[in-house]
């Protein structure tokens, strides 16, 4: 017997969407919104300008050649302006701590710090490549707009608080990168780099997505903070083996993107093939974004996922394998968390391969690719520690790495006049550096100091980065990784100092002349040089600057208090 419901009793089912949905949220992400709008506006400007130019040329001289207008210069200046304005907006942002857009984005001090670093590195890498882009006739303004879009996506990546927003942001970033790597269409190297990057990047994105879906399948959650809560409740008998495998896949997907060692093979080819200005961007900026995300994912979300006791109990069948694996690596591995194992392995392998692989390289960009792989190994030490000290060391090292890499790429991007091969008007081979001291001694000094710093010789900046990292590794008893880090430093000294030796003492092998360094490169070189040289006066400055991670620190302390692990 069905009786209809009385009409006046019917609840109102229309939803009123004029409510406070996202009322203040747009204010929080105002810098990012500005950045996106700037990119779209500049794109429209570029397209319209080219069209109007062409139409004018049509009407003026109908039979003449119509060249596309050279726009990359002023569009890149406008992009630099956009970056500066984004920085200003970022510093004057009224809301610093918020979880916004229905738990999809989050803002806090760590994220703010990483965003500032990302924008600075993008800005500097555009500044140092202005002259290169003009000389190489990369005559398409889309290049610089894609850079801007990639930077925006990294800002979103770092502030994502949800698996879906993280994946979308990283896809946006990777798509920009594929196009940027293949940007020099007429160069075979560049097309190869683009294709290689695309295939491997798509594969790693697939792995990442598979990991996310496994985690979602076994927990029903995509939000990072909720993942923290659900994993912190794992006791002796409860376990998330499915989520553990999902976490491994997520880690592998990101380690692909960051060129850590078992997944590094694409890096030298892509770095070599893509235009040097793009290489400079690749070498610095995405690492900051992904490492910042790592800190948030692995130091808070996956931190408590399956502690060792629960892990070895449940995977009874694989116990034999896992214990031998532990014994193989080190004794202290028995007390590490599951995610720490992955990163410890990748860190040790990256440092060793980075140091050994760079020894036999003839081209400077391949050498720098291996050098960056080695640096990624050092960054992962900071991540493995799982302590506030480690995170701080990681952030300090990121600043120092940013400065050193900007410096070295400013040198490499400086113009060169070559007598025989007119098509390669830049430094390509290591032997090209042999003329550096004779033609431009100041540049040679900068290069030498920078390479000494990268090798980690004591008074320079690079030493302090490694000092903090290894110190934090020792303080949380990761002796093996610290010792390997020290040995890898010694190994990497060999090839860094070989470069200095080539630039100072070797006979001139290639006939080329260093031209006048462009003004903006000169300024950036000078500033970074002084930073590298005089950081030892007050190495605590970088440490203090990273003390804005205190919100993260508090969070970790609270978490440690709750879970009562890891002193």
């Amino acid at each position: 017997m069905v009786q209809p419901f009385p009409d006046d009793f019917k609840p109102v089912l229309e939803t009123d969407f004029q409510i406070f949905l996202f009322e203040n949220h747009f204010k929080t992400v105002f810098p990012e919104i500005f950045c996106l709008f700037a990119s779209v506006l500049l794109l429209i400007y570029g397209v319209l300008y080219a069209r109007i130019h062409q139409a004018n040329a049509d009407t003026l001289r109908r039979k003449m050649k119509i060249f596309p207008p050279i726009m990359v210069n002023h569009v890149s200046l406008l992009v630099i302006l956009a970056f500066l304005l984004t920085l200003i907006l970022m510093f004057n942002n009224p809301i610093m701590h918020a979880t916004i857009f229905y738990n999809t984005l989050v803002c806090d001090d760590l994220i703010f710090f990483c965003k500032i670093l990302i924008i600075c590195s993008a800005l500097l890498s555009v500044c140092i490549s202005l002259d290169y882009v003009r000389k190489q006739a990369l005559n398409a303004f889309e290049y610089i707009i894609l850079l801007l879009l990639a930077t925006c996506s990294m800002l979103f990546l770092i502030s994502s608080a949800d698996m879906i927003s993280m994946y979308l942001a990283i896809e946006l970033q990777s798509l920009c990168f594929y196009v940027l790597a293949a940007f020099k269409r007429n160069s075979e190297f560049s097309t190869e780099a683009g294709l290689k990057y695309f295939v491997l990047g798509a594969f790693s994105s697939g792995v990442l997505l598979f990991g996310c879906s496994l985690i979602y399948g076994f927990t029903g959650i995509t939000n990072f903070s909720e993942l923290t809560k659900i994993f912190s409740c794992t006791g002796e008998n409860q376990h998330f083996t499915g989520a553990l495998i999902g976490m491994i896949f997520v880690a592998v997907g990101f380690l692909f993107k960051i060129t850590a060692v078992p997944f590094h093979t694409w890096a030298p080819d892509v770095y070599e093939g893509s235009p040097t200005s793009v290489t400079a961007f690749f070498a610095i900026t995405p690492k900051i974004a992904i490492l910042g995300l790592f800190v948030r994912l692995f130091e808070s979300s996956f931190y408590d996922l399956n502690t060792e006791a629960a892990f070895s109990l449940q995977l009874g069948t694989t116990q034999g394998v896992s214990t031998t694996f532990n014994k193989l690596l080190s004794m202290e591995f028995t007390s590490t968390l599951p995610w720490q194992k992955i990163f410890l392995f990748c860190s040790i392998a990256s440092m060793i391969v980075g140091a050994l692989g760079a020894m036999n390289q003839k081209k400077i960009k391949r050498l720098l690719a291996y050098s960056s792989i080695g640096h990624v190994g050092y960054f992962l030490i900071g991540l493995c520690c799982g302590t506030v000290e480690g995170i701080q060391a990681l952030l300090i090292n990121l600043i120092i790495y940013l400065v050193m890499t900007i410096n070295i790429f400013a040198i490499i991007l400086s113009p060169v006049r070559r007598d025989f091969v007119h098509s390669v008007q830049r430094i390509k081979y290591i032997s090209d550096l042999s003329v550096l001291f004779k033609t431009n001694p100041i540049l040679a000094i900068t290069l030498a100091v920078n390479f000494f710093s990268m090798a980690g010789l004591p008074p320079l900046a690079g030493f302090w980065g490694k000092y903090y990292l290894l110190f934090s590794a020792f303080s949380c008893e990761l002796y093996l990784v610290a010792i390997v880090g020290g040995l890898a430093t010694v190994l990497s000294c060999v090839y860094y100092i070989r470069l200095v030796h080539i630039s100072y003492f070797e006979k001139i092998q290639n006939r080329l002349i260093f031209e006048r360094v462009p003004k903006i490169n000169g300024w950036i070189l000078a500033i970074t040089f002084f930073f590298i040289l005089f950081l030892f006066v007050s190495p605590g400055a970088t440490r203090r600057s990273t003390s804005i991670t205190r919100s993260l620190l508090q969070r970790i302390e609270i978490r440690d208090h709750i879970t009562d692990r890891h002193a």
């Binding site: 017997m1 069905v2 996106l36 879906i164 979308l168 798509l175 293949a182 083996t241």
Partner: protein, 184 residues
């Protein structure tokens, strides 16, 4: 059904076209067929092993296996039979009246029916609008990339001149030349 057939047919033809377009030489495939088999097979077996580990551990009901499903159904049946007996033992007329006047509310009628697309739209345009915008930017980048990487900016472009075409007079399109014909 007919839509499905047409759709599948179209997709199949599309695939055929793609396969036709690809310049794959059969000999090359045969040559490299077994090259990556050992390492690939090893990784695949490892992966399968992991998945079996999950199936053994995680994909079981959260209820302790001691309380089987049979037990629980028995429990429910016992409860319901007890309830029935309670109702029957109530004095004479009340139980039938209770059953007769019982009001049922069809909740499914009251619920708003939304199609999948509508419900996705209600999520994606309101709470998860950020995802939507992000996805749109991904598509924008894909478009820019495709244009940048494939568009040839050649110097001798024969562009369409709309103004010129539209202002052309009909009477002047075919002209009669006086005098002798001009061959150029």
């Amino acid at each position: 059904m007919i839509f499905l057939v047409v759709y599948i047919g179209a997709i199949a033809v599309l695939f055929l076209f793609v396969v036709m377009m690809l310049n794959i030489k059969l000999a090359e495939i045969n040559e490299k067929k077994y090259r990556y088999l050992p390492i690939g097979g090893l990784l695949g077996i490892l992966f399968l092993f992991e998945i079996f580990c999950i199936i053994d551990n995680d994909l079981i009901a959260l209820i302790d296996s001691g309380v089987s499903i049979a037990n629980s159904t028995q429990l429910v049946e016992a409860n319901s039979s007890q309830l029935n007996s309670d109702l029957l033992t109530l004095d004479g007329g009340i139980a039938p009246i209770f059953y007769k006047n019982l009001l049922f509310t069809e909740w499914s009628e009251l619920a708003e029916n939304l199609t999948n697309i509508q419900s996705i739209g209600q999520c994606i345009y309101t709470y998860y609008s950020y995802f939507f915008i992000c996805a749109s930017f991904i598509l924008l980048v894909a478009m820019i990339g495709a244009i940048v990487l494939t568009h040839h900016q050649s110097v001798y472009v024969q562009t369409q001149k709309e103004l010129f075409q539209n202002t052309r007079e009909f009477s002047k399109t075919i002209q009669k030349h006086k005098g002798r014909p001009v061959f150029t």
